[in-house]
């Protein structure tokens, strides 16, 4: 039996009277990469924010890494204790669209700070982990630089290293290349592809259709707060069943 890393059932979320997510259900296996595509305002970012606990859901249930984050009780989402939420928070990582690096810390300290403050690792341990990750990101010469001295692509790779340093079991990406110039997009996507080869479980909200099609195991198309179509990415891109998906894909080909 394969491990289910994400099991979302009937997840719902409203902001005031606006239903942003209506009845979202999907699962993700360990080691798989899921791409979430869809027009802006489709609810994909909100879904990612619920998975990473930056927002709370109103209804449905969600298990991460085989443990419940919230359960469905009479149609309402009832969250686990703060302790359990925190435990799950540490098993998930998030890479933001606009990096959100800490500008007052050096690159090295951006990657070591949480390891030391949260995971209580020693300075040496945290630093050697950070250096290893920087090597992997091809940024070892930037350890003592500050974020303002880096290009967008370098910043995003540092932020991936910062997330990986916490040894997450699932890594989430919120449009990781949307703030980047096209030539910088490639270096970031290359890193994400490398992680996919290492069988890192990942969920990527993206507008990079080539990435979604070529580098993910599953794809999911959202529109208007619902999952319109999901499945094998090749199938989804080459034979879209739903009219809405077809129209969406056409906007990229024009």
């Amino acid at each position: 039996m394969s491990d289910i890393m994400i099991n979302a059932q009937n997840v719902m979320k409203s902001f005031g009277d606006t239903e942003v997510l209506k009845d979202i259900s999907f699962t993700l296996e360990k080691g798989h990469v899921l791409s979430i595509i869809g027009p802006s305002g489709s609810g994909k970012s909100t879904l990612l924010r619920i998975l990473t606990q930056l927002e709370t859901a109103d209804g449905g249930s969600l298990d991460l890494v085989g443990k419940p984050l919230f359960k469905n009780v009479n149609g309402k989402a009832v969250y686990e204790s703060a302790e359990k939420r925190r435990e799950l928070n540490l098993k998930t990582g998030l890479v933001f669209q606009n990096f959100n690096l800490f500008p007052h810390f050096s690159v090295l300290r951006n990657i070591t700070e949480a390891q030391r403050a949260v995971l209580k690792r020693s300075k040496d341990e945290a630093e050697s982990k950070a250096i290893d990750l920087l090597k992997k990101m091809n940024l070892e010469d930037k350890a003592n630089s500050y974020p303002c001295e880096l290009s967008g692509g370098q910043k995003q790779r540092v932020s991936i290293a910062r997330a990986l340093a916490m040894d997450p079991e699932i890594l989430f990406f919120d449009e990781p290349t949307s703030a980047l110039d096209p030539e910088l997009t490639l270096e970031v996507l290359k890193v994400i592809r490398g992680l996919a080869e290492e069988k890192m479980t990942m969920v990527v909200v993206t507008h990079e259709m080539n990435f979604a099609k070529g580098s993910s195991d599953e794809a999911l198309f959202m529109d208007g707060g619902v999952i319109v179509e999901k499945g094998n990415p090749t199938e989804l891109f080459d034979n879209p069943k739903e009219e809405r998906l077809r129209r969406f894909l056409n906007t990229f080909n024009s």
């Binding site: 925190r86 500008p103 007052h104 949260v118 500050y146 910062r162």
Partner: protein, 211 residues
Amino acid sequence: MGNLILQLFKGLNFSVRIFFLTLLFSLPFGFVVAKGRMSKIAPVRWFTDLYIQIMRGTPLILQLLFFYFAPFYIFHASYDRFFAVILAYVLNYSAYFAEIYRSGLQSMDKGQYEASQVLGFTKAYTFFHVILPQVFKKILPSVGNEVVTLVKDTSLASTLGIAELFRVAQTSSSRVFSTTPIFIAGVFYFIMNYVVAKFFDIVERKLDYYE
């Protein structure tokens, strides 16, 4: 002349004491006021806002008189003049610092809070290690401005008869029928503020390593 300078230095001593005591209390208390101004509890927010409006909306010289005479008229008791002076300055400057802190806190990108949360930092850790250092850098020029104003505002304590620099200069001036003492006091204020401005310059430059 030597005697005059000695007198002025005695006055300066009072001015410097007012200056440092005001900063000592108003810099931290301003934070409490800023937190009140941003409170989720509406009455706390209204009360803090009213306090700030009064402190910024009325002359400091009037507030000095109020804090000195009010206890007498209300409770038929009075306290030390110097205490009244410090109280008035601290309450007045806290209101200004509070607004500076608030602008700094509210200008922080919410992504910094979100990144901290996702990485597992506690709220307190996030505030002291992520938010505060960045807010400090942002508000430094505005705080510097206020501190320069405070140096000059210490002269208002003369209203309550505190023998600070300006008062001493004024008295000497009328005693010797000359404006020289007042001119020298002016030079003293200028030098103090030159030191203050240089100090803030140095701190700003020290924080220049990031944007």
